[in-house]
């Protein structure tokens, strides 16, 4: 039975390899000392490219080449388990790295450092049409009957779970009970008109005219603006800190460690900031961020910023409570949202 499952995973991985624009996935084993394989989720591709260019200018990174593969976070993580070569992985949610720990590919101590395994961060924002015609100010406006919402589907996209958690958290972290939070999220999903499978698809759908509000990541909103798209966004009073983990694999190229150190350094985080991510350390230059609403104060502080560890215990705990395929509260709410229509 295990063998058969391996066959299926291998088939999926082969497909992922073929699809990913990594320019040939034939090499296995770390024979080539000068090449780092990066496997990541789609969003930080531009930032990682910029960091790589900067790193190549330093003594550590001189002459190191990169082989990259970007795609949906969960798919990428499963592909690595199935044998896709990776020296460094960068995923949307911690559970995708945990999968590699369980498979013996990443050391269990990967999140022991001061950064707790996190390499990039952002927040959930409410993206609206240019000029905010529906006058959206905060979460409560989203459940008005005249508001139509687009969000990636938390049931099929791990990354979209940040959005659902932010919506839930703005009730629960402000003194609301689980029942009240459930009530709010139910009303919110009743207003959802499109549930694409990834953040990128949701952004495309929104920019093509669907809905009034897009539950988005701040960095995606900034990047879209940098690319000339027309949209505004509102930072709600309470939102969640999106924390994307990164790790090096057990048998990684020795260059992977200095690479990770550089990613976590001020220079590395500055490159993330330029692409719209919030730096994970203090002291990073954050002025002149193109595409931000105010380029010189690009990352305004929300009144209350929730984190997974403080407000939701841990990824594994919240995954079970909210997103279990059958019993998860939010999965159930989404399923029920279709019945009431």
């Amino acid at each position: 039975m295990k063998r058969v499952r391996a066959t299926i995973i291998a088939t999926l991985a082969a497909a992922a390899l073929a699809v990913s624009a990594c320019g040939g996935g034939g090499s296995s084993g770390s024979g080539d000392a000068g090449t780092l394989s990066i496997v990541g989720f789609a969003v930080p591709e531009a930032a990682n490219k910029a960091i790589a260019a900067e790193w190549n200018k330093t003594a550590d990174g001189k002459g190191v080449k990169f082989k990259t593969s970007y795609g949906a976070s969960g798919d990428q993580s499963r592909a690595v388990v199935a044998g896709l070569k990776a020296d460094y992985v960068h995923f949307s949610v911690t559970s995708d790295v945990t999968r590699l720990v369980d498979a013996g590919l990443v050391d269990a101590s990967w999140d022991d450092g001061p950064n707790k395994g996190i390499v990039s961060s952002s927040i959930v924002v409410l993206a609206v049409r240019k000029g905010n015609p529906k006058n959206i100010k905060d979460w409560d406006d989203l459940i008005r009957p005249d508001v139509k919402i687009v969000t990636p589907n938390p049931a099929s996209s791990g990354a979209a779970r940040w959005n659902a958690l932010a919506a839930w958290g703005h009730i629960s972290a402000n003194g609301g009970t689980d029942a009240e939070a459930q009530d709010y999220v139910t009303k919110l999903f009743a207003n959802v008109v499109s549930l694409p499978n990834s953040g990128r698809d949701a952004t495309t759908s929104f920019l093509s005219g669907t809905g009034d509000v897009l539950l988005a990541y701040e960095n995606e909103a900034i990047l879209a603006t940098q690319n000339g798209q027309e949209l505004d966004w509102v930072v709600p009073k309470t939102t969640i800190l999106i924390e994307n983990p990164g790790a090096i694999t057990k048998n990684a190229n020795p260059k992977a460690k200095p690479w990770l150190d550089f990613v976590l350094s001020k220079e590395g985080q500055r490159q993330f900031a330029l692409k719209g991510f919030r730096p994970i350390i203090d002291g990073v230059e954050t002025t002149g961020i193109k595409g931000a609403r105010d380029p010189n104060n690009p990352f305004p502080k929300p009144e209350k910023l929730l984190t997974v560890n403080q407000d939701f215990q841990s990824w594994s705990a919240l995954s079970k409570k909210f997103f279990d395929e059958k019993e998860g509260i939010i999965v159930k709410i989404i399923a029920a949202s279709g019945k009431s229509q």
């Binding site: 058969v4 099929s156 997103f323």
Partner: protein
């Protein structure tokens, strides 16, 4: 006769049963058969068997739970129902388009001939994007069907358009017109000629095209990514449900739904074949 070109399996089957299958294979034929079987096994049989085994991995109750959850059942109903509807439309419209391409001469015919294959060539996500910009909220013609079941229907129609056209067209082109002329000279109406002379010859090709069209519709994913909105119980198709199960590391559940789709597709293809044989015999 001409149907042999398109549906070679059927006459070949008949021929083989005439022969009784007792004759030993020549060396070349044995090599060919061996290669065909190996190829087919590697690409189709083994992966499909793996899916079935994985589905069985979770046990019967898990299998049953996976495919009967209201959301999944709704997705299967929507996918299969829409695919059947689309196939019926394709049978009529595909045959009509093939007819126009073969029997009529008009300006732009060559262009149409080439354009028919576009839905084959276009990546489906691009198809979705094109349909969204034309029939979405920013529609220049004021038709907004994005995120409704009509969008699913439309996307299926788009990606399955070429199948019936391309299977019927060559058969129609090879069709012997003398039989039609003879029937006309004997006083048969045009409708009777179509029903009694032309349709029976086309039926195997139409059935083959319909089967392809149905199977393609059931498996469609890419063009719906941006267009259907994936709303549970309303516009969510089965492939999206399967993706959701995979995202939750529930491979058994995903495989269970896949097996149901396989069985349904197989059943539809068999039914089409039976209908086709009946019609040919009656004709």
């Amino acid at each position: 006769m001409t149907s042999a070109v398109l549906a070679p399996d059927r006459p070949a089957l008949a021929r083989r049963s005439d022969r009784g299958g007792g004759r030993p294979l020549t060396r070349g034929a044995a090599l060919g058969l061996g290669m065909a079987m190996l190829w087919f096994s590697l690409l189709v049989l083994i992966p499909l068997a793996a899916v079935v085994v994985t589905a069985a991995d979770g046990g019967w109750s898990h299998f049953w739970d996976s495919v009967t959850s209201p959301q999944t059942a709704a997705a299967i109903r929507l996918t299969v129902g829409t695919a059947i509807l689309v196939t019926l439309v394709n049978i009529v419209m595909g045959t009509l388009i093939a007819w126009v391409l073969v029997r009529d001469r008009f300006f732009g015919q060559r262009a149409l001939e080439v354009l028919i294959d576009i839905p084959f060539a276009l990546p489906t996500i691009v198809a979705g994007l094109v349909l969204l910009s034309l029939y979405g909220p920013a529609s220049p013609i004021g038709v907004d069907i994005a995120n409704t079941r009509i969008a699913v229907f439309l996307a299926f129609l788009f990606v399955t358009l070429p199948f019936v056209v391309r299977t019927v067209q060559p058969v129609l082109a090879e069709l012997d017109r003398e039989a039609e002329e003879a029937a006309a000279s004997l006083g048969a109406s045009r409708f009777t000629i179509f029903r009694r002379i032309i349709l029976p010859s086309l039926t195997p090709a139409i059935a083959a095209g319909a089967a392809l069209s149905f199977a393609r519709g059931v498996s469609e994913y890419g063009s719906l990514v941006l267009l259907s909105g994936n709303l549970p119980m309303r516009t969510e198709v089965t492939s999206v449900r399967i993706l959701g199960s995979i995202e939750n590391d529930n491979l058994e559940g995903a495989a269970a739904v896949a097996v149901v789709l396989l069985v349904i597709s197989f059943a539809v293809i068999v039914i089409l074949d039976v209908i086709q044989r009946r019609m040919v015999r009656r004709g």
